[in-house]
């Protein structure tokens, strides 16, 4: 078993060597695949000549959660997919070089921000998307007011396993933003948007998805059935876990399912961790790196198995599943599972964890929603003028870097919106 859930740490020599592999493409394709538009080719070129401070300034400026992203950004499905170097041998390990920078160089002392002489903007939610928006707005001279009742940092601070993303890393990002880029933090729950528009010129909603989708099968009331994100939060807070027993089943094939599976297998290497998923390996939405890690540390998989009912007397004793066949592809390009009749079998379990999706909390009735997320136009504006939204709450759950990218775009669009209003 691997010692750490954090991928290879680079030293100076290795970072330079890796940066030398970058071809320094013109109009670099990797940068277009980065939702936060990290200037990858430019920072790697600076690393080549060991201008680590210059390179760190570039990445620090581009991404509000740059320290966090260095640990958990799934480069294998973002920048690396477009790396020209992969046509020669293998893609440049961009994230590892960027983590070398953010782990070792602090550029806060070079900060030089304009006066905060523009309007106050309300930001609902202190996760990656909200704080990214604050970060960008502050750079333009606005006064970002962040509404957040719990600890700033969102999912990374609440749910991502400590051994994959150390708490101190996220705090480096949030502390940096709070100290330098936030005008005010309001420790209160926001239930209505309209009243905010009286005080603030624009609002950005970035509350994420806080509710977990319920599995609707028989036996959900049994003792030993849990929701993945509840458990992840407990683990992150170092609270006592319920007794999950020796055979723990996890239903789902997304990142939350993989996160809980890998976390539990790391905490309890001797217990059986089984992922039960109705489609096949190649249909899983989770990050390839995490799927690969699961295989390596000994998580087991039941593919093409669809839950029918949880069995047990008073407490979970197993799950009855049917086998599926995978038929034509749906709109996401993945194959659709279809139940095979009379193929049921029971997988014996001591506990069951569901991780089948998440949805928006029922708030802000005046904001139009669609398919469980807030509906926005190409400017990330909702149905109410001046109210913008971004992050998981519009995309249904995606990467931290995508959330940061949305925050960046929203800040730009808010600025454009306010300038337009002034012109009129």
């Amino acid at each position: 078993m691997e010692k750490s859930l954090i991928s290879h740490m680079m030293d100076e020599e290795r970072a330079v060597m890796e940066a030398e592999r970058c071809l320094f493409c013109y109009d670099a394709p990797c940068e277009k695949k980065c939702p936060a538009h990290l200037p990858i080719s430019r920072f790697l070129f600076m690393v080549r000549s060991k201008d680590f401070v210059g390179a760190t300034k570039l990445v620090r400026d581009a991404h509000a959660f740059i320290n966090t992203a260095g640990y958990v950004c799934p480069e294998e499905m973002l920048c690396q997919t477009a790396c020209t170097r992969s046509q020669i041998d293998s893609p440049v390990n961009i994230r590892e070089v960027h983590r070398f920078l953010t782990d070792n160089f602090d550029v806060e002392r070079y900060l030089s921000l304009p006066a905060m002489d523009k309007e106050e903007i309300a930001i609902i939610g202190g996760g990656p998307s909200g704080l990214s928006c604050a970060f960008e707005l502050r750079k333009m001279g606005y006064k970002p007011v962040v509404f957040e009742e719990s600890e700033l940092g969102g999912i990374p601070v609440q749910e991502i396993f400590e051994e994959r993303l150390p708490y101190g890393v996220i705090r480096k990002d949030t502390d940096f933003i709070v100290k330098n880029f936030v005008y005010e933090i309001k420790r209160e729950k926001t239930t209505e948007i309209k009243p905010l528009l009286n005080k603030y010129k624009a609002v950005f909603i970035a509350i994420g998805l806080t509710k977990e989708t319920e599995l609707k099968i028989k036996g959900m009331e049994l003792k030993g059935v849990y929701k993945a994100r509840d458990l992840l939060r407990k683990i992150k807070r170092k609270e006592n876990l319920p007794d999950l027993g020796e055979r723990i089943g996890i239903i789902g094939g997304g990142n939350v399912a993989l996160e809980i599976a890998n976390t539990l297998k790391t905490l309890f290497p001797d217990r059986e961790i089984l992922i039960i998923y109705r489609r096949g390996l190649s249909d899983m939405k989770a990050f390839p790196e995490e799927i690969e890690r699961a295989g390596r540390i000994g998580v087991n998989f039941y593919f093409q198995s669809i839950p029918e009912e949880i069995v047990g007397e008073g407490k979970v004793e197993g799950i009855k599943v049917s086998q599926t066949k995978l038929v034509k592809r749906d709109e996401s390009g993945r194959r659709k599972p279809e139940r095979i009749e009379r193929s049921e079998f029971v997988i014996p379990l001591t506990s069951l964890i569901t991780a089948i999706g998440q949805k928006i909390e029922e708030v802000f009735p005046e904001i139009e929603k669609e398919r469980g997320v807030i509906k926005v136009n190409e400017n990330l504006m909702t149905n109410i003028p001046g109210v913008f939204a971004g992050g998981d709450v519009i995309n249904g759950g995606d990467t931290i870097t995508r959330a940061v990218g949305d925050g960046k775009t929203a800040a730009k669009k808010i600025d454009e919106y306010l300038r337009r209003k002034k012109d009129v």
């Binding site: 020599e13 592999r21 071809l23 320094f24 013109y26 109009d27 020209t84």
Partner: protein, 410 residues
């Protein structure tokens, strides 16, 4: 299991099993190392430059430094080494031992002296020990002994001729090579002086005076010897282009045998050095970097090259490129255009940006693909794009005699 190609050559009347020998340098400064080198398969050794007893040799450490990139550590190697700390009494013993043990291999020795008597004593004693060849270092970047210390002997045409004559006078039938420096105004004048002096050949050339780098945080030059340094002799692959030019110029102007030295890091480099006129090739930095074992790939590569080119002996390639080196004004004016191989192109667009900012703005981007397009009206055929392409997807097409000639980087 496989047939081995005969790579033997005749070098100044000496039979060599192949053209590759170890130069007068650290790899030949210990008897045991010279033995190991010969056993590993090198055709000969030139023992590191020796001097008469009593000559002071104050070596300073560290003496090595290099420049390169992080992934390619040694592009050029520099040293502030001097001649061997072993004097002629030790070296003459070694020559005897080596000659006894390796009668089929070339055992040469390099010498440096201050006055006529020293030079000639060294020659007599080496001859008596049975040496096959004597090389005279006229070009140690740390300077020569004698009349103008700090200056290289080969930088003076008259001194070169005079000392060559002394040495050859004493050497008689034993072949003499004069090791020169490329650091002169006119290399031809020096080569002519060597010839007039009566030497049998020239070793072209030696390391080149240089500073390998400076520590930008402490201002100390490399290699730092307690905060200070001196000029280094530069060797390694970085100096190959200078070696090629030096040998070519000598061979085009003076009828004299050349032993090639400086910059060969593979059999391909060695072949290039022979193509401009070297009869054999000396190595130092490559075995210092990777060990004597590299001889295996040098011999293998040379054999297959000769097979592929239908040459029966390595001697057949000596000087093959010389007629093709001509003055710039005699080069024909032809029409050349760059051509991009779309199947090979990986779409980095480096050729585009290089031509845009450093060529003739003749490469254009396309909407639908990252494979750029050559604008033939603007392309002058400078070939800069070809140099920057990481995957060799660009070649030049020359239109001459109504035929198409391809110029491809290999």
């Amino acid at each position: 299991m496989f047939k081995r190609k005969d790579l033997s050559i005749d070098f100044l009347g000496i039979h060599l099993e192949h053209p590759f020998i170890l130069s007068a340098s650290p790899p030949t400064d210990e008897l045991e190392m010279a033995i190991n080198g010969l056993e590993a398969g090198w055709a000969g050794v030139i023992l590191k430059t020796t001097s008469v007893e009593g000559t002071e040799v104050d070596l300073k450490y560290p003496m090595m430094s290099s420049f390169g990139t992080t992934s390619k550590r040694i592009v050029g190697l520099g040293n502030i080494d001097l001649i061997s700390k072993y004097h002629i009494d030790e070296v003459e013993k070694r020559v005897k031992i080596l000659k006894e043990r390796f009668p089929e291999k070339l055992v040469g020795a390099s010498i440096m002296g201050a006055k006529k008597e020293d030079w000639q004593t060294l020659v007599y004693r080496l001859k008596k020990a049975g040496v096959d060849l004597i090389e005279c270092s006229f070009s140690c970047p740390q300077g020569s002994m004698g009349e103008s210390p700090g200056r290289m002997l080969a930088q003076s045409v008259s001194a070169t001729e005079k000392v060559t004559r002394w040495v050859k006078e004493a050497a008689g039938d034993t072949p003499v090579l004069i090791k020169i420096t490329p650091q002169v105004t006119d290399i031809v004048e020096v080569a002519e002086a060597v010839k007039r002096g009566g030497a049998d050949g020239i070793t072209a050339s030696n390391t080149i005076p240089s500073i390998l780098g400076i520590d930008i945080y402490s201002f100390e030059p490399y290699p730092t010897v307690f905060g200070k340094s001196s000029y280094s002799g530069l060797s390694g692959n970085a100096i190959k282009p200078i070696t090629l030019r030096t040998i070519a110029e000598i061979k085009k102007n003076v009828d004299i045998v050349v032993s090639g030295n400086g910059g060969a890091y593979s059999w391909r480099d060695a072949v290039e050095i022979m193509l401009v006129g070297a009869s054999n090739v000396q190595f130092c930095t490559l075995p210092m970097h990777y060990g004597f074992r590299v001889i295996e790939s040098l011999l293998s590569g040379l054999s297959h090259y000769l097979e592929e080119m239908n040459f029966s002996s390595p001697m057949d390639i000596v000087g093959k490129s010389l007629p093709r080196i001509i003055p710039n004004e005699e080069l024909p004016e032809i029409e050349v255009k760059a051509h991009i191989d779309e199947d090979k192109c990986v779409g980095c667009e480096l050729c585009y940006v290089s031509c845009r900012d450093g060529g003739h703005m003749a490469i254009e981007l396309r909407e639908d693909t990252r494979v750029p397009r050559i604008n033939e009206d603007k392309c002058v055929g400078c070939a800069m794009c070809m140099q920057v392409c990481p995957v060799n997807a660009i070649h030049m097409v020359e239109k001459m005699d109504s035929k198409e000639h391809r110029f491809v980087r290999k």
